[in-house]
Amino acid sequence: MPTCFATSDSESCIPLTRDKTPTRLTKRTISLRQFLRLSKVVGIFLVAATSLMSLGCQSRVASTDEIVIGHFGSITGSEATFGISTDRGIQLAIEEVNAAGGVNGKKVRLITYDDKGDPREAGSAVTRLVTRDQVTAVLGEVASGLSLAAAPICQENGVPMISPSSTNPKVTQVGDMIYRVCFIDPFQGSVCAKFARENDKIKATKAAILCDQTAPYSVGLQEEFEKAFTAGGGTIVSKQAYQAGDQDFSAQLTSIRASEPEVIFIPGYYTDVGNIALQARKLGLKVPMLGGDGWDSAKLGQIAGDALNGCYYSNHYSHEDPSPRVQNFIKLYQGKYQETPDGLAALGYDAARILFTAMKTAPSLSGKDIAAELAKTTGFEGVTGVISMDANRNPVKPAVILEMKDGTPRYVATIAPGE
């Protein structure tokens, strides 16, 4: 027997049984009032659910004989090697510090959350690290867009955050809790522009740019490159854009082809860059391509193969650097993971070690004290160079240029700041 909640008006009644009632009754839409009522119910439910969840979060407190640090990174997704490499670098540093007795006698434990390369996931991963796991410090992310999504959360909660490899200047501008151990894009952009203008094999006067307009990293780097390239006397003949994950670049590449550039600057991440390179070669675009540290992944060579031969990117270190600091790290890393570390692994390692150094000298493990120590970092001998924090919590350090040869990056040059 169908029941009806509306007493007066039979038309507004929704039969609760599944009998064959006439369509006249079922084709109705809901009124505004009903919609508002529905939204209210949903709203109350959401509020209740979130408050229940946050109650549950408070229950865990870190034990006193260990230090818990958090890492959020893209362990899966289009930039998966970024997160995995960084995590491995961090793990290596933790193993080292724990083997040497830990930080002031306390063992360091790492909690890693996967953000799938998604800014929303990054936000919730960091919230979880900070509120539920109550970590002492946070490491991450590689992609600037994801670091920017997470940094305000760390800043508000007074938890120091070190981004190993987000190069966009805005990341550390979020506040005095946010640090990084890599160079920033104004420097990287000028390095790329200088290289494009002056390298004997390129000597470009006309450059095209293909930028990922959804990534702050890519947009920022594009601007810096353009500034430096035009200041050096070159012209940008075509500026095209794509969105992370796009599959079809033929319109942009056809357009670039028509503008006849001598070099194409692609400040994107490796998955997209690989696809772009493949499609560019198919369209008969043979000029060299140039990019930033977003290219740094073993996957790049796997995707693009020899389509990237004769292309260059700027990076934080080269595994071909003969200095013992670098070669030691590579030996350790290869011993543990049976692969050659990329720049992101090296930066993850450096970020963790800088953090431990700061923790050792800090008067307490409060966020403020650690951050204050981090700010004082000078002359830290990292794998990726000597790191000193400037007033904006950005290190000043050189960049290297790598050339892709049959899928592997080879060292070409080192360019120091101010050169």
Binding site: M1, P2, T3, C4, S10, C13, P15, D19, K20, T21, P22, L25
Partner: protein
Amino acid sequence: MALLDIENLSVSYGSIRALRGISLKVEPGEIVTLIGGNGAGKSTTLRTISGLLSPQEGQILFEGKPIASKSPHAIAANRLIHVPEGRGIFANLTVEENLRLGAYCRKDTHEIRQDYEHALELFPRVKERLWQLAGTLSGGEQQMVAIARALLARPKLLMLDEPSLGLAPQIVQLIFQVIRKINAGGTTILLVEQNANLALQVAHRAYVLEVGKIEMSGPAAELANSDDIRKAYLGGH
């Protein structure tokens, strides 16, 4: 055995009871009409028989078998055909496609062809419009298509819901002539009409429905002469 035998049928729309325990019978070869005012439950009765509505109580026997729990397409496949109020034309299909759908459940290609020709003989005007979209026809033409289409199912029982609704008097005359012809050909008909005058002229027997209950029943001629009926439904003539 009656072709259609309804006992104590009750149907509700939500909390509104549309039918309150009606019983009626249709014998093979008859034209039975169901008359009554607006909202009396005439269309509800037909919609329940054809399976579009489920009854709360009561049973419907067609050729002695219960059909009240069956789905509408299974009931139609038993050749109990319902031409709904408003004619049930598929406006997005051509007239020809509409007619073909009438024979949807049949496989006897040869006989379908015969019935098709026969239906078009009954309605020469439909024949002229075969390739038009049915939605572009006039109301009278649509009613003709609806009846012709129903005939293509070779109905054992043909249920017509308000075939005269909104049509010009000449067209109504024509439709009712055809109804007689169809019946003369051996098809049993259950006719729902608001125009009681016309319905009682053409039917053998009649039921009078009022707010979900059968108020009166009997041979059509008798009811046509009854004073109550004349007052209530025939405009007092």
